[in-house]
Amino acid sequence: MRPVGDHGPSGPVQQQPTVRRNPVPSLLESLGRDHLDPGYAEAARRKANGGAAAPGPGSSRAWSVAAVAAALVVVGVLFGVSASSAEENAPRAEKTRSALLEDIDRAEQQESVLATSIADLAEQLRATQSALGVAGPLETVAALELAGQITPVTGPGLRIVLDEAPKDDENASTSGVILDRDIQLLVNDLWAAGAEGIAIGGVRVQPRSAIRQAGGSILVDNRPVFWPLTIEAVGDPSGMQVKLIGSAGYGRFSTFAQLYGIEFDVSAQETLNLPGGTGADLLFASAPPTS
């Protein structure tokens, strides 16, 4: 390779021999040209020059056959081992993944079983307490629990079914997505419309519940709920519906339904069964000591 500006032997006559400033071809150039190890060419040249090969253990035919065979056995073992280990590894990763998914499923099932048992035990406790006749203060407690959305309730109300727009459109995946703040607005409008108890996807909304988004899924009270989302609100169905239709949340969702094709159905229901909430976990607060 001749550096730029070098006129070469055909240029103006120079006393000293042409200086080759870059005698070694650049790395990338040699990468493109010299695929074969230069050692082979050199060995061939040496052989041609010396006639017989140079003396040494590498020269005898048996030795070279043995060496090449040994090297190739090593190569083969390398191939075989990596093939078998690759075969082993692929299902192992898949197995780990499905095992983790199973663990999650099992934990979720256990959680829901425990939640039901909490509700059952609370029911038993209340029944026993009222049987014992400590009615006065306990009724206050029961009323407070009802107001705190802890006890399961049943009654007429509205059912709203929400689902994201179908994904098979060409439009980007972001356009048909319902965000947590949309659901928050709708739930607040339901409270404002006179709902007495609300459950989202089977999770009771409590005074301290949060509706949040984590990735593509909605968390209610830190529990994931899945599309299509069912929001059930106990209250006067017709009155609630009238108030809800005038609210901002309803307007937003009906616009979404028209523009983006999300599912948004509001229907009055005769009886809705809302599960009880889990109650607030108080970590630092405690009742003041009564003197």
Partner: protein, 110 residues
């Protein structure tokens, strides 16, 4: 001929003996495989060019595998292991392609 037999025997040993690969060797195995492939294709091409030399083949194979593994090891220690493995794979991959093309020209005259 004996080379093919040796290669097949090695593959058979590797597949059937099923040795467990120790964990520290894990990252170097693919690099070693690529380096071995490079040596094998280089040797085959040299054979077809009639300049095959056993000493060059064996030494280049061993040295390539060791150097490739060492580069990856060094990269792991420096925190650029992935990039250096990519570099090794690119360089060896280009050589494998070039040698395979030369072998193809030898065999098919095209």
């Amino acid at each position: 001929m004996y080379a093919l037999l040796a290669l097949a025997a090695g593959v058979a040993i590797g597949l059937f003996v099923h040795p467990t690969v120790p964990d520290w060797l894990g990252p170097y195995l693919p690099i070693a495989v690529v380096a071995a492939l490079d040596a094998v294709f280089g040797g085959l091409r040299a054979k077809l060019d009639d300049i095959f030399d056993a000493k060059v083949f064996v030494i280049s194979f061993v040295a390539n595998v060791l150097v490739a593994a060492f580069i990856v090891f060094l990269g792991d220690q420096l925190g650029v292991g992935a990039q250096l493995s990519t570099a090794v794979v690119v360089v060896l991959g280009i050589r494998i392609f070039g040698n395979a093309a030369a072998i193809r020209r030898h065999i098919f005259k095209a």
